[in-house]
């Protein structure tokens, strides 16, 4: 990752993309950077990418993208193994960053959820899931590219920064910001239950841009004011149960963490 010409000629950074439990859509987003993919891949050595490569290496990554949440024992074993081999580990997508849908189980009875899915299979054919968590619950994560799916332009930007030796920057402003910059007619003012003021942007307000309320696929803001968010929705007469479902769709763990905080930050 040295910037000097010599170094880059001598050795290209070893980049890997690995996945644990998820839909593999995150990885696909990366391959969607079609226009520049080959040019970028020319600057790296793609040592692991099981979706598109037959032979994949398991060690010594300079940059490693991991998609998916830790949802089984094998996931955990793999993640721990890769972490030891990676200089810079990036959580790619909502599952890896926040837990996504599979982490909804944290607010339900585990047996109930499992029964709903696995009861039709004989007991020896059932998967043995563990309750899904994002990567940082088990290993150190160096950078997050959240989103369901993550924005391909952001993946490209982060990769380029790393190749230049620049510390990547997170987008950490509310969805409302990009939405307002586009002069969208606010969905809340149209009686639609948008969660934009609680959620991390960087998606260019894609959903509200198409009149679809934000449900927070990029995670909640670090300082999300959940109490006030609930009050907006209450004041506008939205169904509280539906709201909790929306807030927890991608972010059950964050939701629970916020809920267990004694009070909003003081001072």
């Amino acid at each position: 990752m040295k910037k000097t010409k010599k170094a880059s000629k001598a050795k290209k950074p070893r980049v890997g993309i690995q996945s644990i439990t998820g839909c593999a859509g995150c990885q696909l987003s990366l391959y969607f950077i079609e226009d520049v993919l080959l040019e970028l891949f020319d600057k790296i050595e793609l040592v692991a990418a099981p979706m598109i490569k037959g032979k994949n290496e398991e060690e010594n990554y300079d940059i490693l993208f991991v998609e998916g949440s830790v949802s089984s024992k094998e996931d955990l074993e793999n993640l721990l193994k890769w972490r030891k081999q990676a200089k810079f580990l990036i959580a790619l997508g909502a599952c890896a960053s926040h837990g996504c849908m599979q982490s909804m189980k944290h607010m339900m009875h585990e047996e109930e959820v499992e029964a709903a899915v696995y009861n039709k299979f004989p007991s020896d054919k059932r998967l043995k899931p563990i309750t899904a968590v994002p990567l940082h619950k088990h290993v150190q994560v160096d950078f997050y590219i959240p989103g369901c799916p993550p924005d391909k332009e952001e993946i490209e930007r982060v990769l380029k920064w790393l190749l230049q030796g620049i510390k990547p920057r997170v987008y950490d402003k509310a969805v409302c910001h990009e939405c307002s910059l586009k002069e969208n007619y606010c969905l809340l003012d149209q009686g639609i239950e948008c969660l934009g003021p609680l959620m991390n942007g960087g998606c260019k307000a894609l959903c509200p841009d198409y009149n679809h309320p934000c449900t927070g696929c990029r995670g909640m803001l670090d300082d999300a004011n959940l109490k006030s968010g609930k009050e907006i929705l209450r004041d506008k007469g939205f169904d509280p149960d539906l709201m909790i479902k929306r807030m927890t769709k991608y972010n059950t763990l964050q939701f629970m963490e916020f809920e267990s905080k004694p009070k909003e930050e003081k001072k």
Partner: protein
């Protein structure tokens, strides 16, 4: 004394003054926004757009210069500024006073923003008086606005009374018929009781409103006078050519004050919440002798919680 223009002749007048220029006015589609007019019938003077005019003087996202790291002679190349002359019609007194305040920042003696400067020079301002105010959140009457415009219209039913505020404006209405009338002042329901903010930094009223604040930044993106921005450098895949661009930012965000070394010096929500209002009503005044707020009420109306800083201040003990 001003002039008079029959309403039937409005389009003809606008056509004349906007020859060779873009005509910008409020247009109603799903909601009201300032936009470039293609058909005079699209102009809508009912209400005021929640989105302010500042985008025509400093766009929300803008490329500033190109980077060509391989080239020794010209590693940086500024983006050419290409602004067509334009006429803004249907701005309110608060909208144009917003520009007056931004001029202090972007056209000061020590610093001039080239884009802003050219945009200002190429824009003619034709306003319309607020009688009554178009929004219940308006409180400009408390804000000492100036008569700042090239031309200013007052709706008199079947005709407009017009006053000029500049020589440029005066020249445009020379041919119109004289008319004797006193332009009425704007009267707002909402009032801001002016107080010395410095003495109230610890007032409990701040805390109450702050609890509602989501730090979503809508108050600043919609503000007539907020133009704080963030910078982003991005290279193409060849890592040689790239660009630097800017994008509006907001002091309401947690990491707005992130500086080299990783320190964030206004991390908590409460000081961020107060900062916006202190900037508007105290810090700017200390520097430029006027408020940075025009009383347009956009920050209140755009806020998901309708947080209203005039109420905070009016409540001070």
């Amino acid at each position: 004394m001003g002039k008079v223009l029959g309403k039937k002749r409005l389009y003809e007048f606008l056509e004349k003054v906007s020859k060779g220029a873009d005509l910008i006015a409020p247009v109603k589609t799903d909601t009201l926004r300032f936009g470039i007019i293609k058909d005079f019938n699209d102009i809508c003077l009912e209400g005021r757009p929640l989105f302010p005019l500042k985008k025509f003087f400093s766009p929300a996202k803008q490329d500033l210069f190109r980077l060509n790291l391989g080239e020794k002679d010209e590693p940086f190349k500024e983006e050419k500024i290409m602004i067509k002359p334009r006429v803004i019609f249907g701005g309110r007194l608060c909208d144009f006073n917003g520009l007056l305040k931004l001029d202090k920042l972007f056209l000061s003696e020590e610093f001039q923003d080239d884009y802003y400067k050219e945009a200002r020079e190429k824009t003619l301002l034709i306003g319309i008086n607020c009688d009554p105010p178009p929004s219940k959140y308006c409180f400009c009457e408390s804000m000492d606005l100036e008569k700042y415009y090239d031309l200013f219209f007052h709706d008199m039913g079947d005709k407009y009374y017009i006053e000029s505020g500049s020589a440029k404006g005066q020249a445009l209405i020379m041919d119109l018929e004289d008319y004797d009338f006193l332009m009425p002042n704007i009267h707002c329901e909402k009032k801001l009781v002016r107080k010395e903010l410095a003495q109230h930094y610890e007032d409990p009223a701040w805390e109450q409103e702050n609890e509602k604040c989501l730090s979503c930044g809508k108050c600043t993106s919609h503000c007539t006078t907020c133009l704080c921005f963030d910078m982003l450098d991005e290279m193409q895949a060849n890592l040689k050519n790239g660009k630097r661009s800017k994008e509006w930012d907001s002091c309401q965000f947690e990491n707005f004050t992130l500086v080299a070394g990783g320190l964030v010096f206004r991390k908590e929500r409460l000081p961020r919440f107060k900062h916006r209002i202190y900037h508007k009503l105290q810090y700017f005044r200390e520097k430029f002798g006027m408020d940075m707020c025009t009383g347009c009420g956009r920050c209140i109306e755009a806020c998901p919680r309708l947080i209203d800083f005039t109420e905070v201040i009016n409540k001070f003990k």
